[in-house]
Every structure is written in C-alpha cells, then in structure tokens.
C-alpha cells in the first residue's frame, strides 16, 4: 500500500530535490520517446542538448533565447505568488515590441544617447498598457484575468500584423510585411562576436536580483505573497486585494513589454509579423521550474532556452519537427507539478497503521 502523508517539517532543499526528480523523469520520458522513434537515446540527447553549446556562437544563442524567458519569468513568479494568473504575457511582449519598434522607426536615422532609453520606455509602456486592461477589468468588473489576458494576446498579435502590413511597412521593401531595419542607435549591442546574445541578457540578470529583493525585503512582496496564500488572512491584515491585482499585472505587463522591445532591438533588428516563438507562454514554465523564486529563474530560463536550441538541433540533425520542443516543455511542466507534492508530503510504503 502506498500512502502519502503530510511532512512534519519541510526543509528548503525538498523543493530542489523535487525539481531534480522532475528533470530526471523528463529526461527518461524523452529518451523513451526518442527510442520509440527508432533513435539511440543517449547519442541523440547528446547531439541535441550538449552539442549546441560547444561553441561561443551556441552559448551566445542560448543567452539570446534566455533573455526574454528570464525577464518575463521573474515578473510572472511575482504575480503567481500573489495568485494573479497573468497568462497573457505573450500579448504584452508583442505590444512591447510593437510600441518600442514604432518609437525606433519614428526616430529612424536620428542619433543620440537618448534614443535607446526612449525606445525601451516606449516598449515598456506598451506592455504596461496591455497588462493594465485585464487589471482594470478584474478590479472594476471582476472579469477573469486568465481569459481576458489570453484573448488580448490574440488581439496583440493581429495588431502587430496590421501595423507591419500597413503603416510600419518598409517603404522600400517591395511590399514585404517587414519594417525598415533599425539603425545602430536603436539596436542593443551584442555581447560576443558570434551569435545573437545581446545586452538584454544583462538587464534580465538585474531584474532577477531586483525581483528577489522585492520578494524578500520589500513589504509589497510580502503583501502580494500573503494575498496569494490566503485571501482571508490578507483581508484580516488590511491588505488591499485590488492593489495586488494591479501590481501583479502592471509588473507582468511592463516587464513583458520590456522583454518584447529588447527582443526586437537586440535580436531581430526590425519589426516582423512574428516576433516571439511563444516566449510569453514558455516563461510560465520557467517561473514554475524556478518554484517562483526570482533568482532561480536564471538557471530555469537558461535550461528552457536550451530546449529551444535542442528543438532546432533535433529538426536539423534528427529530422524531428521543431514542435517537439513543446512536447518537452509540456512534459517538464507536468513532472514539475506532479513532483511538487513531494515538498509538503512524503510517500510511505507499507501497511495502513
């Protein structure tokens, strides 16, 4: 008879043991999947997960992919702690990219130290506005923030498409749905001579540290956490639920918007109809992999970024569709959620006492 019982004491390392078990189970399941496709699991895993990191180029690409994941993951970790389910980070990212890109195009070919900060501000405000809509509708009308923020994602993607096909299209671009290439003053510097890793990664690291500080030292972080854990306790302490909703969605929107503008100015260099391979959704996995600790979002973001590279490598060298990345990510999230039981409970084998 297998039984589960609540642990008398939970220690901090229980969380990370659970994460480690989840990673092992994911690797085992992926190996079985690869074997069922007639591939040798060990050499295939080596080829898709290790080989992409064998060069400066590979590491640089990894940092480029990890940048939006970490930036958004930190914001979502804060919001999820408060029990506010912002599922529309993808839309907020797209709006950030669109608004920041529009600023970059408005000041096209104008140099000056103030251009780049202005672009980053524009993008952040775009994402902030997109996050403010579900916050307002939640606080004012009690509309479900999960569904509203998600519907807004589809609207944002369509809005970007309208703009890139119309007003923001490159006038000399033969009607391709692309904007002009941003000029140098509107592009974030690269970190290495090879690959696309850019300054945005440094911002992401700073955000992770700041996020930790908010959670650990700031009263707001404590207030949000209490609200997430128990609404009645928060009410008793006099904490304002509405303010928590606003803060969670504004932080989520603003940082996702920042991630979007950093993505277009650091990585893509122009506006195109499709600026994100679902970073906003994948960042949800990153936040859970980090068990909602902002600092742990850094390794979690790097690992999930590796899954994108692995997906590309799998497509190139094994002939598996790149969508297999999503299978890997979904499995990882399943196992993370399943094993989180081990943090507060333990499994006992034996007879019922």
């Amino acid at each position: 008879m297998i039984m589960i019982e609540a642990r008398a004491v939970t220690r901090w390392y229980h969380e990370w043991i659970a994460v480690f078990i989840a990673l092992l189970l994911t690797a085992a399941t992926v190996s079985v999947l690869l074997a069922s496709l007639g591939l040798d699991p060990i050499s295939s895993l080596q080829r898709i997960f290790i080989r992409p990191l064998n060069s400066v180029y590979g590491v640089s690409e990894l940092l480029a992919k990890a940048t939006p994941l970490i930036t958004i993951g930190v914001a979502l970790a804060l919001g999820f702690r408060a029990g506010v389910w912002n599922i529309g980070a993808e839309g907020q990212l797209v709006m950030g990219g669109l608004c920041g890109g529009a600023v970059a195009l408005a000041f096209w070919n104008i140099d000056g130290f103030w251009v780049m900060p202005l672009i980053l501000l524009g993008g952040t405000l775009g994402g902030l506005a997109w996050g403010a809509i579900p916050a307002f509708l939640k606080v004012r009308f009690n509309a479900n923030e999960i569904l509203v923020s998600l519907m807004l994602t589809y609207v944002a993607i369509l809005l970007l498409s309208v703009m890139v096909h119309g007003p923001l299209r490159d006038p000399t671009g033969f009607n391709f749905p692309e904007s002009r290439l941003f000029h140098d003053a509107a592009t974030l510097p690269k970190l290495f001579s090879a690959g696309r890793g850019h300054l945005g990664f440094v911002f992401a690291l700073i955000f992770a540290v700041l996020g930790t500080w908010v959670v650990k030292r700031w009263h707001l972080g404590f207030e949000m956490r209490v609200t997430g854990l128990s609404t009645s306790a928060a009410k008793f302490a006099g904490y304002n639920r509405d303010r928590t909703v606003w803060m969670a969605l504004l932080i989520g929107g603003g940082m996702s918007g920042f991630a979007g503008v950093v993505e277009v100015t650091g990585n893509i260099g122009q506006l195109v109809p499709n600026i994100s391979p679902s970073y906003g959704f994948t960042a949800i996995i990153v936040a859970f992999l980090a068990r909602l600790h902002p600092l742990a979002v850094i390794p979690a973001g790097l690992l999930v970024a590796l899954s994108y590279l692995a997906g590309e490598a799998a497509q190139l060298s094994l002939g598996i569709p790149a969508a297999s990345t999503q299978v890997f990510q979904g499995l990882l999230l399943f196992f993370l959620l399943g094993t989180s039981l081990l943090v507060n409970y333990r499994i006992r084998f034996g007879r019922v006492a």
Binding site: A6, W85, I87, L137, R140, F141, N142, A143, N144, I146, L147, V148, L150, M151, L152, Y154, V155, L158, L159, S161, V162, H165, G166, F281, I284, I285, F288, I320, P321, A323, S324, T325, Q326, V327, F328, Q329, G330, L331, L333, F334, L337, G338, S340, L341, Y345
Partner: protein
Amino acid sequence: MDYGLLSSIIHSILVASTPLVFAGLGALIQERAGVLNLGIEGLMIVGALAGFATAVAGFPLLVSILMASLAGAMLASIFALLVLRLYANPVATGLALTLFGLGLAALAGSQYVGQAAPQVAAWEIPFLSQIPVVGRALFSHDPLVYLSIFTAFVIWWFLTKSRTGLILRAVGENHTSAHALGFSVRGVRFLAIICGGALAGIGGSYLTLVQTPLFVEGMTAGRGWIALALVVFASWRPFRVIAGAYLFGSVSIIQLHGQALGVSVASQWLSMLPYVVTIGALVVIASRAGTSQAAPGSLGKIFKESR
C-alpha cells in the same frame, strides 16, 4: 434580400459554432463538478488529429469520432491524475496540458500534413430539409451538428433531473460537504474530467472531419480558450452554451463575409472581433449581479481529504 445567401450563411454559422458547442459543454461538465481545466485547447487539437488520422485510414465517421473522444479522454486522464491525486495546481496543469497537446499533435501529425479526409455526407432530415431557406440552413447538416445539440440536451437532463447529476453539482458547489455526506469527490471529478476530455476531443475532430478536411499544426487557433470563456458567458448552463457558441460562430462568419463583400478594412481588424467580443461578454457577465452565485462554489479549489 437574397434568401439563398442567407440560408447558406446560417448553414455556415452552425458549422463554425459546432466545435465550440462540444468543447464548451466539455468544459461545463467539468466546471459544474468544481474542476477548472485550462487544457481544453490541447484536448481539442489531439482530438482533431486522432479523428483525422482515423478518417484518413478509411474508417467510417462513427469510428473517427470515437477515436477522437478516446484520445481526448486519455489526455484528460493525465490532468485528472495530477490534479486529483498529486494535488497539482490546476491552473498550471491545464496550461501544461495545452502545451503538451499542441506539441504532441504537431509531432505526431507532421506525417498527415497535406492529406485530406473524406467528405462527411449530410443527413437531410426528411420533410424538414425540403422547407425553402430554413431547410438548407437548419436541417441538412452533418450528423455531428445534431449530435452537439442532443449532447447539450443530455447534459441539461443529467444535471437537473438525475440523481447522479445532483451529486456532481454537490461536489462542485462544496466538496467538503459532499465528502462528509459520503460521496466520492475524486471519483465524480475523475468521471467529469474524462467526459469533458472526450467532448473536447470530439469538438476538435469536427475541425478536421467537417470544417476543413485537413490537419494543420496549431489549427485550433484559440478555440479551446474561447470555449472556456463561453462557459462563463453561459453562466454554467448547457443551453446557454449553445446560444453563446452560435453568437461567436456568427461573429466569425460575419468577419469572413465582410472580407468577401469587400469591406475596406484590413482583415486582421475583423479577425480580432471574436476575441474582443469574448472580452466584452466576460465583462458584461462578470459585472452583472448574481454571477458569483452562478459559479460553482468549489471551482478550481484543490480537494484534500484529511482536513
């Protein structure tokens, strides 16, 4: 007024709405049992692929639908295991289900891209289908359209008239009391999740079997999420799910005809309509007094016996 056009517009609205009816009912039965499943999108696409693969292999429609519902139910059982047995966070688990379903369907479906499923014949209802305009619009559809309405009727009957339905609602309203009365909260919820998964699978298969006899990765395009919004819109009542689904179907068809009639706005603006209408509907429903009573009391809350 061109009556031929009118009847074909109504016909296509019913076709566009039917996946939402099935998926919405699948979400509804789970939510009435207190389970919030955000994985409907993933369940739909897996059902879409399973139904399509079966049809391409040459099996009749009934077998394709059964396979689609089986695929949905099997994927939903993962959700049931995690949420009911391992106390996993239902919001995150639902998202994982969506991601996993979309990825799995893309991976397994890559070999089916470019193939076509056989056409599904319409069931002309005797006499009624002969009525001018109305006959073509309402009574000469594929069997799944009729099945979707029949399913709503069955679920309405089950929830309001049967004893088991009463138990299901009790579990959804207050799982602690239902448990104290000796009902199996986990058992009821497990069955609700399995049925909901099967219905979402059938809804997905309608896309590949009837709407477009093709499989494309990510073809559900947010319908699973709209289905979830529909349940709120319908304040958890089966017949209102049908009404809501037809409303959303109308919006998407009007958008298509707007393009055909040469409305001079970029097509993307019109494509935003269903999503914007959904947000509007959510706001209207949520702000109306008494909605908090309409939602099942234990919706989305984790049930643990020893408390």
